[in-house]
Subunit: 259 residues, 2 copies
Amino acid sequence: MSALNTPPTRRERQRAATYDEIVAVSTALLDEGAELSLRAVAARMGMTAPALYRYVASYQELVDLVAFELDKAATAEWRAEADRLPEDDPAGRLTVAAVCFRRWALAKPRRFGLVFANPVTSSGSERRELLTLSTSGHYFTDLLWQIHEKYGIPYPALDDLDPVVRESVLDPLIPAKAEHIPAADRGLLWIYMRSWSALYGVVTLESTGHCDPRVLQSGALFRATLIDWLDPLGLAEEKPRLIALLDAELAKDRAPAGR
Amino acid sequence: MSALNTPPTRRERQRAATYDEIVAVSTALLDEGAELSLRAVAARMGMTAPALYRYVASYQELVDLVAFELDKAATAEWRAEADRLPEDDPAGRLTVAAVCFRRWALAKPRRFGLVFANPVTSSGSERRELLTLSTSGHYFTDLLWQIHEKYGIPYPALDDLDPVVRESVLDPLIPAKAEHIPAADRGLLWIYMRSWSALYGVVTLESTGHCDPRVLQSGALFRATLIDWLDPLGLAEEKPRLIALLDAELAKDRAPAGR
DNA sequence: GCGTAAACGTAAACGCTGTAAACTGAAGTG
DNA sequence: CACTTCAGTTTACAGCGTTTACGTTTACGC
């Protein structure tokens, strides 16, 4: 309400800095393998635990805050990596971004767990709303839209969709930058849901460890899943190039920490 | 070592009963929405918490025990449901079992989380070994094998597999009743991994709530994913029948608690 | 049949967790 | 300057997993 153009006051800046520190410290704890706990965060910040309640209303809210920021930061990473490819190559960018997503999930499984394997069932709609803002979700939808503009993804007509699904692509609850997609083209969101489900599926399987470690390390499962989605995304002609790109990216993960 | 044919002694029976009670109480707690905690389990059993340490070495072991038993019980449910179809219809049985799996995951998300969304990274190989025994994994592999015997699933030759994957299907670490599958046919296990990854993916997405609730309720995402796998499983000819079966099963879930 | 040892269970305690209430001191505002 | 808002502390509570030390019951070998 008050923050419209008026520059942030000193207090506001300080408060924002504290939020940043909360996220930074939480991330550090997570990466050290320690449990993410209110008290540990407070202690490392030189505060007592109850003081943190000036910033988050509960432990769950701390988790949500950290999850949201980690998602944002990770997405920025992937985007930076994908942006090495030219702007008019959204298919290449999606390929790179997907590999980065997987790389991130495997390298920082605790972060991944916090952001993506966090049951959202609990406590009504607060978390839902936050989920809808998911940065990574927006990024992937956006790439898919660009691919569609360039290649023309074959997508179902609204009439071919299950009525419930139709309703849900016309007024999406899941993270999707969809306002700019004309209603008639919203069938695209169905493709988005389906491909996201596939990507999320393999990566979750791999990241949570329910997978033969050797297969995981080879990346074959992930590779096969991605390749299966090239045709449905209208990228048949780009297949050889994209697969080569995919393999090049995957090779990085198998390289002995190559310098 | 000692338990070979000799009938269980009184103590052994009592101990087994206690284990059963631990699982029962844990399951009850879980279904009530309470946290699964050592102390709560002990209290409800009329014991003090440390007493439980006579049965499990740690909290994690309690979780593993419950997870294993829940998996076993759930698989028995699915099998019972699938066994309504004749023995010579493994494809139908797989369809029903998959729907049951999803139904279970959505109806008891906490059980699902415990069994399938439980990070296995921690603490070395103990949990890996337990995972390899997964009852549900064996059941699905078995169905796939029966489908192969009847329809002939197109599977890759060993030589076409990534060397790492080849090694891993020849000596599987993941749950798979594979001893009876001849080495030359082990490419099947690759199909198993891939299809399991797809099934696990949608169901996890749906069960953890990272999905539009309306789409979830309609079952469309799950339906589409399953249908996509009919062709790769060599079930093209059975498609109409299996889709009808699938829809009939899914209709049950949407029915208003039908009688 | 009795002694012994293993198995089962309790009580007390430690350090950790999230959270609530009351209170203190400083920063910013009229 | 008076006054409010904000940030932080102290204290406290209930619950967690886990360890240690101590009893009690049960089964088994001599």
